[in-house]
């Protein structure tokens, strides 16, 4: 399908500024090429919603909202074309079967052994070994080897050695969806563990001896502190309401040595509508500062991010300060529990702040433990009430940490954004499906590719140039400040594609290029020194002297010096660094303020200007 003379409107312009071009639909992407040959690609899987607006004089408006927060506003000249595009997009963006997802047709030109190796890149057994399990207190359990006890857990689970199979089975029957307490992270030095599970089926008074034993086994597996924390990540009211449905929370009287704590993170439905409100505000045209701030407040979004991080800080304190083990759960133990466990581990262990470590963390606490990526990200056409930005919140919490500790992370913001992109793209197999069992049934490892080797391959893009691996060496622990003013609106996520809103020069990219260039320069120096040595064949002492003499050459004079004519340009100047993008008044819409004011005075000339790209 191909439609010409389509207009792409500026999302924030009130004066209908637009680019004209041609719109194409391919099997996987929507493509728009404007008159200056700039291409806009949109993956069908990224489309969250398509909306046809009422017909206008210039044509039929079509608004496409994407899961990566891109919003494009097309105007199609003929209504019939618009209708065709609309219908096609509806079909293309709503997939009924996994096998129709992009990952099953995506072919990155890898051979089979590369594909297999790619999937082996992240090895969770290796990861548990790195943490220090199995050991005297913790062992690998084969109870779920055939997914018989819990379908949404992985096959391999680590449990206290003293937890026998009957205890595991009994406990799992007393937990929602069979998700009994298992090890998520083991802190070697403190000998304390982060464990995770779902809510107990306690109702108003039910007890389960095996479950009580299970918790006791966890607390006994920690020789440093017999007390353990049980963190219910839900608001107390929600947990109490669950009791009426035969679920609920642990009664402190029935379990020995536990300290029970609610931490009040809201459920997936609250989070979904919170994000919806946030996007409504940030997408408003001609937004005032106060409408933005009050919209931000009313959306509750930053409050939720803070709640998640506060919960992680609570967990980390229990382990780092009291050496106590912590059992974390919410309702089913795959949303809030994943957030809190993974953020807790990230704060405790610097390994997860490396590029590879972060992949491992996501594989472990999100993918293997059954965060329902398919449902939450709406990979297949399904129940809209299952959609929720739980994983996005996790990434945003990590971003907040990288802002507070700019040197503690090997990866940068682009890495987080890229992961977010691919969680929704369905281009790689990693995030397809809702649990490991489902992934095995889909034969993802044979039929699709893993994202991680591709990210590792281009890891230069994702490296933080300020990263210091020895950051606070004596304690790898991060202690974030969670005072409200530390939480900021994540503009680079929610306005990733609205270029006019971003700084026109990026310090970060500049430093990244520079630190990349430094490596190249180091190489050049070695090479040049070798050449000189070779030419000289003389004593090094002379060489050193000459170096000192020419420590501060005048580069400009050099260019004109005749002996340099045959030389290559001195230093490759990183052009990208100097580019000032989109620096023009029209992008910034100051003039719209004039338009508003001059309504009473129609003679006022319009200050609108065409796009004049300026680069230096």
């Amino acid at each position: 399908l191909q439609v010409e003379q389509v207009k792409l409107l500026d999302r924030f312009s009130t004066s209908n500024k637009s680019l004209t071009g041609t719109l194409y639909l391919t099997a996987t992407h929507l493509l728009f090429i404007d008159s200056s040959q700039r291409e806009t690609w949109i993956l069908h899987h990224h489309i969250a919603a398509v909306e046809k607006l009422p017909l206008t004089t210039s044509g039929c408006p079509l608004v496409i909202q994407c899961k990566n927060f891109r919003i494009v506003h097309f105007v199609v000249p003929r209504e019939r074309d618009c209708h065709d595009i609309y219908n096609s997009l509806l079909q293309l963006s709503r997939t009924a079967k996994y096998e129709e997802l992009y990952a099953f047709s995506y072919n990155p030109k890898q051979n089979e052994s590369e594909q297999v190796k790619g999937w082996q890149l992240i090895d969770l057994a290796e990861e548990y070994k790195r943490m220090g399990v199995p050991n005297a207190n913790w062992q690998l359990s084969d109870a779920n080897r055939d997914y018989k006890i819990c379908e949404t857990y992985p096959r391999e689970l680590y449990v206290p050695r003293t937890a026998s199979k009957p205890i595991i089975v009994g406990s799992s029957k007393f937990r929602s969806k069979g998700r009994f307490p298992v090890l998520s992270y083991y802190h070697k030095n403190k000998e304390a563990a982060i464990c995770r599970c779902s809510q107990p089926l306690s109702g108003f008074s039910a007890r389960c001896l095996e479950d009580e034993h299970m918790l006791q086994a966890i607390s006994k597996a920690n020789p440093s502190n017999r007390y353990m924390y049980v963190m219910d990540t839900r608001p107390k009211l929600n947990a109490m309401a669950n009791r009426a449905a035969g679920k609920g929370y642990e009664n402190e009287d029935n379990y020995s040595n536990i300290r029970f704590q609610f931490v009040g993170i809201e459920n997936i439905h609250v989070m979904r509508s919170s994000l919806q409100k946030l996007l409504e505000v940030s997408g408003t045209k001609g937004l005032s500062v106060n409408d933005f701030l009050s919209g931000l407040e009313n959306s509750g979004w930053l409050r939720h991010i803070k709640a998640v991080l506060d919960a992680a800080v609570f967990l980390v304190k229990a382990i780092a300060v009291e050496s106590a083990s912590v059992l974390v759960h919410c309702s089913d133990g795959w949303d809030r529990t994943s957030q809190v466990c993974s953020l807790g581990a990230l704060l405790l262990d610097s390994y997860y702040r490396t590029i590879k470590g972060f992949m491992v963390l996501i594989e472990k606490d999100w993918i293997s433990f059954g965060h329902k990526f398919s449902d939450r990200c709406c990979q297949l056409d399904g129940d809209p009430k299952e959609i929720s930005p739980v994983f996005t919140q996790f990434l945003e919490s990590v971003w907040n940490l990288t802002e507070q500790f700019p040197q503690a992370f090997e990866y940068n913001e682009a890495f987080l954004l890229q992961i977010h992109e691919h969680v929704h793209s369905c281009q790689f197999g990693n995030f397809l499906g809702n649990c490991q069992k489902e992934r095995e049934e889909l034969k993802l490892k044979e039929k699709t590719y893993s994202l991680w080797p591709f990210l590792l391959n281009e890891q230069k893009k994702y490296q933080n140039p300020l990263y210091n691996p020895d950051f606070s060496p004596e304690l790898t622990l991060l202690e974030p400040n969670t005072v409200s003013f530390n939480f900021k609106f994540w503009r680079n996520m929610y306005h990733q594609f609205d270029r006019s809103m971003h700084p026109r020069q990026s310090v970060f990219n500049l430093i990244m290029n520079m630190s990349e260039q430094n490596k190249q320069l180091e190489e050049d120096i070695k090479e040049l020194e070798a050449k000189i040595r070779q030419r000289n064949g003389q004593s090094d002492a002379v060489l050193v002297k000459e170096h000192q003499q020419s420590a501060h050459p005048a580069p400009r004079a050099l260019k004109t010096s005749p002996c340099f004519k045959k030389e290559q340009p001195l230093i490759p100047v990183p052009d990208a660094v100097r580019t000032i993008e989109g620096s023009n008044t029209a992008d910034n819409r100051y003039s719209e303020f004039v338009a508003e004011l001059s309504k009473a005075e129609p003679a006022v000339v319009s200050l609108e200007y065409g796009v004049a790209r300026m680069t230096c």
Partner: protein, 550 residues
């Protein structure tokens, strides 16, 4: 008056100093005429805190038994607490600080007593003279002249002795125009845009009153800046409503009938106590760590600070847009032309003129558009966010300007020769300083105070290489373009370097900044080395060739 009379207890021992994010320190407190000095007695890590009395915004005292506590809130927004044993000592010290920090007479201020401990390389009082500025201008255009009409400050008390006006308007006409403008602030040249010869002028409101008075000379003056057949824009920093109300008090705005070649645009930039309250609310919000997210956001919103930032920036962008894109000349004024007018004209220049983004150029801008232009620093900066006295004259007009500059700096981090520290330094010195630069409300007062003879200029200190290095932006690469900042709310940020400076530990951010600077330094070293080696190699090659030729 002797300071000694005010200092009943010049020294107290066993005083404990509390600051956020630092351990409490015990030491000795001394009061001098201009400073509060605290020194810890610890041998291993002697620490001294010097605080100018003029930096103190307010103090509170309370007692628990005989232990007194003084909380000192400073104009730079820092808060410290001193525990002083002995009720009498504490009361004495508190009353001394109160008296010394609220001296009535300017000539008792520290700048009149300060003796610099550094060698003066360049006298800052002579660094930015109007003649030099005019010389630059006359090299590109001859349509303007330097008028000495205000030599004895006889025409306009808040203008400098010399101003730049259109050549075709003589002093006699200027006198008439001065009668027609509020505070006699007749239109003068603020900025000449070399690229297209368009200009920005500034003035105060015309005194049209309710019966629509007009002044032919005024019309002639501003029309003299227009090219034949071209329009100009008058940017009135008040809303139309406010401007209309001003007529009742004798003020007003330019009527279309009398200024047919001009289009008037009204912007709404707030003034005086509204801004002061905004600052007070913002600082209050930032200082309370216990706020939950909703409360923090609603307090930030209620402060309106970022709204003011957006309004000011938008007006400045608009002025710049008229000049650069529309190819039109602009006249900016509000009521007095000493506050919002200067915010707009100075920010527009930062957007338009690369020179204003250098350290020297920015200093010159502050001198021209703020000090010489008669922004009443002494009135506006008498008190900061902790003041209890609600005087009408205090307003963070200059701080808002600096914040706007910071916003642009953040969006164009490589286009400025100076860094954030430079802006923070100017903020501090505008409110409390050992230098005379920001004393007085205009050049007239400064001349009467003989600041030039009796005090040191801030620029004499700043423009020494030792100091300059602290304020240089390592990322600076001259950018000759006009820089258009985004004014979307999503693009504006709270200036953490000022408002959260004392409210959070900055160790990790500082270290990261240091690392960034190291990478840049290392890059320069490596480049120099590669160049040196290449040259060496090339020389060897030519030597070889010459030998071959021989």
């Amino acid at each position: 008056m002797e300071f000694a009379e005010l200092i009943k207890t010049p020294r107290a021992d066993n005083v404990v100093l509390h600051r956020p994010f630092y351990l409490a320190v015990e030491g000795t407190l001394c009061l001098t005429g201009h400073h509060l000095i605290f020194s810890s007695r610890r041998q291993d890590n002697a620490e001294e805190l010097w605080l100018l009395h003029s930096n103190i915004d307010s103090i509170e005292k309370r007692f628990v038994g005989s232990l007194g506590t003084i909380v000192i809130k400073c104009k730079d927004l820092r808060i410290i607490q001193l525990d002083i044993p002995g009720m009498e000592e504490c009361l004495n010290i508190a009353s001394s600080i109160e008296a010394l920090s609220t001296l009535d007479s300017v000539t008792l201020m520290y700048p009149f007593f300060y003796r610099p401990m550094f060698e003066i390389v360049e006298d800052g009082w002579r660094s930015f003279l109007p003649d030099q500025e005019f010389e630059l201008l006359s090299s590109v255009t001859d349509e303007w002249r330097l008028s000495c009409i205000n030599k004895e400050f006889s025409v306009c008390p808040s203008y400098p002795p010399v101003v730049i006006v259109p050549k075709s308007i003589d002093d006699e006409a200027l006198r008439k125009v001065a009668m027609f403008r509020h505070g006699s602030r007749f239109p003068v040249l603020s900025y000449y845009h070399k690229k297209n010869g368009m200009v920005m002028m500034r003035s105060s409101q015309p005194l049209t009153g309710t019966n629509g008075r007009r002044c032919k000379e005024d019309e002639r003056l501003i029309n003299a800046t227009l090219r034949p057949g071209k329009r100009g824009y008058i940017i009135d920093t008040r809303s139309l409503n406010v401007a209309q109300q001003a007529r009742a008090k004798g003020g007003g705005f330019e009527q279309e009938v009398h200024y047919p070649q001009w289009r008037r645009i009204h912007k709404c930039i707030e003034r005086f106590n509204i801004l002061q309250e905004s600052l007070i609310k913002l600082v209050e919000a930032c200082n309370d760590q216990s706020h939950n997210m909703d409360r923090w956001l609603s307090k930030l919103e209620a402060s309106n600070w970022l709204t003011h930032i957006k309004e000011i920036l938008t007006a400045a962008c608009l002025a710049a847009q008229c000049i650069d894109r529309e190819g039109a000349s602009v006249l900016v004024h509000g009521t007095e032309g000493t506050d919002s007018t200067l915010q707009v004209t100075s920010l527009a220049q930062i957007i338009l003129d690369p020179r204003c983004r250098t350290i020297r150029g920015f200093e010159s801008l502050v001198v021209r558009e703020w000090l010489q232009a008669g922004h009443p620093f002494q009135q506006r900066c008498a008190q900061s966010a902790y003041s209890n006295s609600k005087q009408k004259w205090e307003a963070p007009v200059f701080l808002l300007f600096l914040d706007c500059v910071w916003q642009i700096l953040r969006q164009f981090p490589c286009s400025f020769e100076f860094n954030e520290q430079f802006l923070i330094m100017l903020f501090e010195h505008a409110y409390a300083s050992q230098f005379g630069t920001f004393l007085g409300n205009n050049e007239n007062e400064r001349a009467k105070l003989k600041l030039l003879q009796k005090t040191m200029s801030l620029w004499s200190w700043v423009n020494r290489s030792e100091e300059l290095s602290k304020f240089q932006n390592p990322l600076f690469e001259a950018n000759s373009l006009v820089i258009w900042p985004s004014v979307a709310p999503q693009s504006l940020q709270l200036w953490e370097g000022v408002f959260l400076r004392w409210n959070r530990p900055s160790k990790f951010l500082d270290e990261a900044h240091e690392e960034m600077i190291n990478i840049i330094k290392y890059n320069k070293e490596l480049q120099a080395k590669v160049n040196a080696l290449r040259r060496q190699l090339a020389e060897m090659e030519t030597d070889d060739r010459m030998q071959e030729n021989l």
